[in-house]
Symmetry: C2
Subunit: 627 residues, 2 copies
Amino acid sequence: MKLQTASVLLGSAAAASPSMQTRDSVVIDYNVAPPNLSTLPNGSLFETWRPRAHVLPPNGQIGDPCLHYTDPATGLFHVGFLHDGSGISSATTDDLATYQDLNQGNQVIVPGGINDPVAVFDGSVIPNGINGLPTLLYTSVSYLPIHWSIPYTRGSETQSLAVSSDGGSNFTKLDQGPVIPGPPFAYNVTAFRDPYVFQNPTLDSLLHSKNNTWYTVISGGLHEKGPAQFLYRQYDSDFQYWEYLGQWWHEPTNSTWGNGTWAGRWAFNFETGNVFSLDEYGYNPHGQIFTTIGTEGSDLPVVPQLTSIHDMLWVSGTVSRNGSVSFTPNMAGFLDWGFSSYAAAGKVLPSTSLPSTKSGAPDRFISYVWLSGDLFEQAEGFPTNQQNWTGTLLLPRELRVLYIPNVVDNALARESGASWQVVSSDGSAGTVELQTLGISIARETKAALLSGTSFTESGRTLNSSGVVPFKRSPSEKFFVLSAQLSFPASARGSGLKSGFQILSSEHESTTVYYQFSNESIIVDRSNTSAAARTTDGIDSSAEAGKLRLFDVLNGGEQAIETLDLTLVVDNSVLEVYANGRFALSTWVRSWYANSTNISFFHNGVGGVAFSNVTVSEGLYDAWPDRQ
Amino acid sequence: MKLQTASVLLGSAAAASPSMQTRDSVVIDYNVAPPNLSTLPNGSLFETWRPRAHVLPPNGQIGDPCLHYTDPATGLFHVGFLHDGSGISSATTDDLATYQDLNQGNQVIVPGGINDPVAVFDGSVIPNGINGLPTLLYTSVSYLPIHWSIPYTRGSETQSLAVSSDGGSNFTKLDQGPVIPGPPFAYNVTAFRDPYVFQNPTLDSLLHSKNNTWYTVISGGLHEKGPAQFLYRQYDSDFQYWEYLGQWWHEPTNSTWGNGTWAGRWAFNFETGNVFSLDEYGYNPHGQIFTTIGTEGSDLPVVPQLTSIHDMLWVSGTVSRNGSVSFTPNMAGFLDWGFSSYAAAGKVLPSTSLPSTKSGAPDRFISYVWLSGDLFEQAEGFPTNQQNWTGTLLLPRELRVLYIPNVVDNALARESGASWQVVSSDGSAGTVELQTLGISIARETKAALLSGTSFTESGRTLNSSGVVPFKRSPSEKFFVLSAQLSFPASARGSGLKSGFQILSSEHESTTVYYQFSNESIIVDRSNTSAAARTTDGIDSSAEAGKLRLFDVLNGGEQAIETLDLTLVVDNSVLEVYANGRFALSTWVRSWYANSTNISFFHNGVGGVAFSNVTVSEGLYDAWPDRQ
């Protein structure tokens, strides 16, 4: 222990052993260099990096989001998540901004039953299920370990039902065995979990199902074959039986969409697959079919039981039936490019829900992405006990079909195996219209984020290398920064890098910039945190995500599409949104209290024009009822 | 408590409370009338009715026999049975007479694992299974109650594997889920248990299976449809997967074979189905296919959770394939007619086994029938705690195809829906040859039973009503009585009843006789036990089983087939065998020490000639190693 060199001032309970100290017994000075944080008392870093406007439990570890639904009885939207590896906790929201814990923040379903002696994994909810009550179809776990890189223990994962009759505070397991007692016959699966229930009239029609039949995809894959989604159909009104309809989608082991540029890896195993259908406004049961999936990948050679790469992808596809029904991707991308972003779960949020009634929003599909707090438990030395919470959900995102008109019909637009596709072309104008997945912060959430004090930084053009401080910076580490960056045509393929430095002080800064050479948004975290210099497990590596800025025609003029950036900084959580179709989230664990400055950043290659630069301070407290 | 009127002399520990007394602390006088036996100290009746030559555990409740196999490594035959509702115990034999407990008489597999938190039901063994070791496929139970008369709780019964690597003393469950995780899709079963593994080249050929493929039938049925055997086929060399081949046999709910005369009821649910193939010598893989089943029946109206009738049947059938494979009965009968006889389990005993090597027997199919000790737990007031053991297995039986030649070709022989069938006819002689299931005490067992002191009672003809004492009777309640009874042609259809009184004294007697009016062997127990007059739960009802004595040609003379009787009395266990094709077993719980006399019995209608009347005394101790 080198506390004498550190910023920790022990309070009155200093004589007690560190492990006995409460968080109140230690005062930390964020104006001096940090010690090795893992030497601090448990709980002492609880507030240090805790976000304000995000969904996370009162304490402990958050895992995959799941169990979302709109309660037909109340109109409240329920947002759930794995909690402490001991089941699923849940909260309600009537505005997609503030949340109320259910069951005092404890789990609404825990493992330990006959079907799930070892664990409860992700589940999804039929809002009007058994007896008209919210009914959870979840993965009941009997054996561990489970990992795509090792032989699968038969019976490890089954799918069981639980019903809530108390408004979602408790989901009571049916007193019976699983409703899906195992994978299809003799399938040597890599996983068989995360059942996602949905309705889809296109499938109803193709499969001659009754209207409003429920389906479920179960995520996993087959050893030696590759990742897959297993499709099932509701068989009876009690949801007791689910008819297997085949691997409606499967990919070869460790293959990619296209060359892997735009959507990473199909990898070795699928997790947390959601299926839904969208139009340009949001959810539309007759719309284009999308899925979001987490893919479990690895550098080679594979290390047993280690998933070193987690890609959080979306995929659009066509559904057809030739004997069995199949899903064929036509575009795919990242739902979030962050290394720790994973396991998204979404749900239809109907226009009749409380949030939508208040905001006037149409039917939407709202997705929450998980941001692992400890590199998927690989961050050795991370001060988990000191922080006493790990991970968060990212802000709720509205998904829609996004159309990009007036794109110059060139190779940049026509690339295949991409995260967009050409939907029409205008030969006389020399343009095409593109389609991709639109990803944006839920409108109510964004409005709440922007509801605090805001100020505008004058736009400017930078042509030389430099870091130009804002005239005014936020006073805290809770803000939204929005800006538009325009680049000359010469930027294409150049070495230009331009963006912002945030969370900046003399000791620390994080740089977020667009880099033309590889069409990427980069989050340079090499100087993000003084704590990374003293404490293992605080990641300083750069984050990167691909965003192609197309050539577009604006009033007859060809130009590079403007970069439309929104950065949400919620203490240590950074979410970068761009152009309605890009998201990258990561941890930025700055240490110093005064690391709140913002600067323009440019590397001097070519020029950039910043405009509409706005900062909204404060964010909002997502948990007004918590003590 | 009316101990003052009773025959119980309390010993030195009399001052202790009854529940604290050991069996040694009480001396019971079997020369005076019994008290209400349920008032006696626990264990005090342990020896009273305990059989000597039968298979039963050192103490406690015996249930279904199962888990039999010949260990390829030792040649020993293993005989198992449910024990105390807490798993399966097992013993070995090298002679089908004496047995050695495995695991000190404790269970070799117990419930409480992930797959079987509630119970372990019957299983059967692949002798050269996983890694060449004896491998048990058994029913792992997760939910109770289970009964054909109530809705089935999904997942209650699954089929799991356990392997023994210590000579059968312990079967270690595979650390995985069930290999048959549930009934076929959306089957609303009445039961799904008692997997019986077998090999059959006829099925191999019909189904284009690899040679020596293992099959399993699982017993049960479907609600609203009827009882059934579900057929599965081994899919892989690790026995991990079993391919469902259909309900190869099913019957309508509560239907019967023929009019129900010869084989009782198919009833509401099948249990403990065995499948095997026989010729006239014993087991032959290419022989005629038989099954034994327990059927769960009920008087009407059905009382929920009560099986008031348990029929222990055998069925012969043909196997055919028309799309799926099916089993079609061509004859059926009772494997044992006793009310408490049930749940038989057999196994191939190869000629290379130790018992067969010593006896020179060919390949055989040896079946053990269970004799419930308390009317399937319905005997209210039975002094279970006083006895400290409940039930037994019956003597091992060799099964074969039995041919009955020179039967007069008349309606008696030609009855359809019977427990025999005509296999050939000789028009000129006016005879047919019949075929049925041959049921006899295993040859080694029978030889051992007859190895004690024996004496012959002179044959005699009785023409008038009377009970004629033997000149010599056994000194104990452990003996075998053999005799042949010949009847005149006029006996057919008459009121003639003739047989023996056994276990007789001035206070008690049991009459076993053949009754022509309904072609039945009757065990009249109305005067069997003085204890039945003081103690509830000691059943005095008559037992009855059908045996048709055919008209046969003997040297050109037509006569009624001779009744060839063998009675085994092993204290309270009575097994009645007749004509190589009939068995009826029951409890005869005589009380008085001197109830050992035997008499001829005749009711005076017509005449009967007794011949070859022999008594062998003493039986043998099946458990020489027990203390």
